[in-house]
């Protein structure tokens, strides 16, 4: 099961390595990771998405995250009501006649085309996972040249 976990930490060097180490030591891959400062510049928030092969092991990882000296709080959003968002930017090549179609897909998905140049469009979208998936599905008929995602961020409702 996929878990979205937010870890609020002291904004210091080495903290990310400590946290990543708890996952990597067990051979767990971090699917996505977003880190940034909070309102308090001394505190950062990390949102980690991880595929847990074994819930018990994940439980253990969460306890161990809490045990780290620089960790302030750990929240697993999986069983909590929450919103999550991710920013995705896609560079798509298209032939002239398909321009309208591309604009239509972007429009319907709630994505924005931020640049058209030489039959290449850059599309951005901030949304939940399902919607992003739908957009990427729709873009498959074009030639996707580059794709960058920010990693998921989340907040309880």
């Amino acid at each position: 099961m996929r878990h979205t976990i937010s870890v609020v930490v002291e904004n210091k060097f080495g903290v990310l390595a400590r946290i990543a180490g708890l996952f990597s030591a067990r051979g767990y891959n971090i699917a996505s990771l977003a880190v940034s400062e909070t309102l308090d510049p001394g505190v950062s928030c990390m949102t980690i998405v991880v595929e847990a092969e074994d819930e018990k092991i994940l439980e253990q990882i969460k306890k161990q995250l809490n045990r780290l000296i620089d960790v302030l709080t750990v929240t697993d959003f999986t069983k909590k009501e929450h919103v999550d968002r991710e920013l995705v930017i896609v560079k798509v090549g298209y032939s002239g006649k398909d321009k309208a179609k591309l604009e239509d897909i972007a429009d319907k998905s709630g994505a924005k085309i931020i640049q058209h140049k030489d039959n290449t469009a850059i599309i951005e979208m901030v949304s939940g996972q399902e919607q992003i998936k739908a957009l990427l599905e729709g873009l498959k008929q074009f030639s996707v040249k580059e794709l960058v995602r920010s990693g998921r961020i989340a907040m309880t409702k």
Binding site: E10, A17, R18, G21, K63, R67, I69, V71
Partner: protein, 555 residues
């Protein structure tokens, strides 16, 4: 004040009386400052690993953080095993390392190693000091973190330019770490629930671990056991937390525990686990472990609870406090007469035993050390058969008298640990019960002991094998003794070459005399006991078997 002097002043403020280490290029400013220090005893070991284990042994003997110091690169990496060892057994330790100059870090400078990176998973916390103004605070925090909550090693890496930089010495009044607030008292609701379950139990057992020793909870543990009339078993780390001769004592449980402790644990209806972590060497096959028991688990580290076994009543808190709370809350003692009778029956039916022979039995040697020192010595061990025999056959009466590498199982630990313990308690007899394999892993510390008159006694149970591995090869690998037979040096001559006293014992009737002579000799003494070569440690729960499925065979 320079960074180096700040470091030493900070150590002084933390009450450090002894430290162990080895000099090198990137700690020269610290060693220069140490040159004038009279109130901290500095012990120069012959290997950084020796320094780390000595600091660890010092910490286990005293309860105070042990301090070790090494230079950057190889000095620091040589500490790594010692740090991992302390981490696995939750031992408070401060490891201080020199680092290449700040502006060279990351450049593959001479003797550079990313020691904070390397030790991240084996320290409770670690620091790279980037500003001399932070040094005093960091040392203060490091000691606080190492010695509170679930204790553990903390490493401080100090680049040599920081050691030379000048700033004012400001000692922080108190420590405030936002993300670190250990829980010391048990939740009252949980205490109530636990008390109820204990009162209603018929077959309770107390399973005590190293946490009891760390928190100084032995008196409370004894009071609880006597109040509820529950038998007490303990882990390797828990040895000494309860007097071995007490009528409620069952001895150690687990892979090489007593049969009666293992049977009682498996049959219990309530297990009161205190400061123990249900290690795989303790539980045996986990899905068959204590099938009828409700588990009450007291531990200061929430991470330990429900990690291996499912716990019915988790209580996070310091063992001493929680046991005190429990004692207050338990109004009615359970009726355990029948249960104690059953346990007594197991004790009679399956006693710890070995077959007497003409050859010297290793168990006999440990028994004699026990009798001669009357349980008052500090015993350290190496790892393997020597460790298990030292655990089984010495009657420990007091906490902090058994010092052994539990979690990591580090061969070569016992001798430098004995050195550390002896520095802490020069008036006590300190014996390292060793194997002929293990002792060679840090034998160089003989020089440290002799030079500094740290008169440790070493009892090598010499069977010419890496005995525990050989035992597994005998039992599970068709006696294919692959690379476990040793060609040993002449240990007596070896001891003598260091300026220590060596005694070789090949006859059973000379065992006692040798031990007495070692104790009365005012020097480091190594006794090379030539013991039965293919003796095995029994009972034994084979790996992956249920705890009551023991090989009993008398060897």
């Amino acid at each position: 004040m320079t960074g180096a002097k700040i470091l030493i002043e900070a150590l002084r403020r933390e009450g450090v009386e002894a430290m162990f280490g080895y000099p090198g290029g990137q700690v020269l400013p610290i060693f220069d400052a140490l040159y004038d220090v009279k109130d901290i005893r500095f012990i120069l070991t012959r290997h950084e690993q020796g320094a780390a284990h000595a600091a660890d042994g010092y910490a286990r003997a005293t309860g105070k953080p042990g301090v070790c110091l090494a230079t950057s690169g190889p000095g620091a990496t040589n500490l790594v095993t010692g740090i991992a060892n302390a981490y696995m057994d939750s031992i408070p330790m401060i490891a201080i390392t020199g680092q290449v100059k700040s502006f060279l870090i990351g450049n593959d400078a001479f003797q550079e190693a990313d020691i904070t990176g390397i030790t991240r998973p084996i320290t409770k916390h670690n620091y790279l000091v980037k500003d001399v103004r932070e040094l005093a605070r960091i040392v203060r925090e490091a000691f606080y973190i190492a010695s509170t909550g679930r204790q553990g090693p903390v490493l401080i890496d100090i680049p040599s330019d920081i050691q030379m930089k000048e700033t004012e010495f400001i000692w922080p009044e108190k420590v405030d770490i936002k993300g670190y607030k250990p829980t010391y008292f048990g939740h009252p609701g949980q205490i109530k629930k636990a008390a109820k379950i204990i009162s209603a139990s018929k077959k309770p057992i107390i399973y005590a671990g190293g946490g009891v020793i760390t928190s100084g909870a032995s008196p409370e543990l004894r009071e609880l056991a006597e109040k509820i009339q529950a038998p007490v078993t303990w882990t390797l780390m828990g040895i000494g937390c309860f007097p071995a001769t007490h009528k409620l004592s069952l001895g150690m449980l687990g892979m090489h525990g007593t049969a009666y402790a293992n049977h009682a644990t498996m049959e219990a209806d309530v297990i009161i686990a205190v400061g123990a972590r249900f290690d795989d060497r303790v539980t045996g096959r986990i899905d068959k472990f204590a099938p009828n028991a409700k588990v009450i688990h007291v531990d200061i580290d929430p991470t330990s609870i429900s990690k291996n076994v499912n716990v019915d009543i988790p209580i996070v808190g310091d063992a001493k406090n929680v046991l005190g709370q429990l004692l207050e809350q338990i109004r009615k003692a359970p009726d355990t007469k029948e249960w104690l009778k059953t346990a007594e029956g197991w004790k009679k039916k399956y006693p710890l035993a070995y077959k007497e022979k003409k050859a010297i039995k290793p168990q006999y040697v440990v028994e004699q050390i026990s009798e001669i020192t009357k349980g008052d010595a500090i015993i350290t061990t190496e790892v393997g058969q020597n460790q298990m025999w030292a655990a089984q056959w010495y009657k420990y009466m007091h906490p902090r008298t058994f010092i052994s590498s539990g979690g990591l199982g580090t061969m070569g630990f016992g001798f430098p640990a004995a050195l550390g313990a002896k520095v802490a308690y020069p008036e006590k007899t300190v014996f390292d019960v060793a194997g002929d394999g293990s002792i060679q892993m840090n034998i160089q510390e003989l020089a440290t002991c002799v030079c500094n008159k740290i008169n440790v006694k070493i009892a090598i149970l010499n069977n010419n094998y890496l005995g525990m591995v050989r035992q597994w090869q005998e039992l599970f690998y068709k006696k294919r003794y692959s690379h476990t037979c040793l060609a040993n040096p002449d240990f007596v001559k070896l001891a003598e070459s260091f300026g220590a006293v060596g005694i070789r014992v090949t006859k059973k009737e000379d065992v006692k005399k040798a031990i007495q002579k070692a104790i009365s000799t005012d020097n480091v003494v190594l006794i090379d006991f030539h013991v039965e070569q293919e003796e095995n440690v029994f009972p034994m729960v084979p790996a992956g078997e249920a705890l009551n499925n023991m090989i009993e065979g008398l060897a």
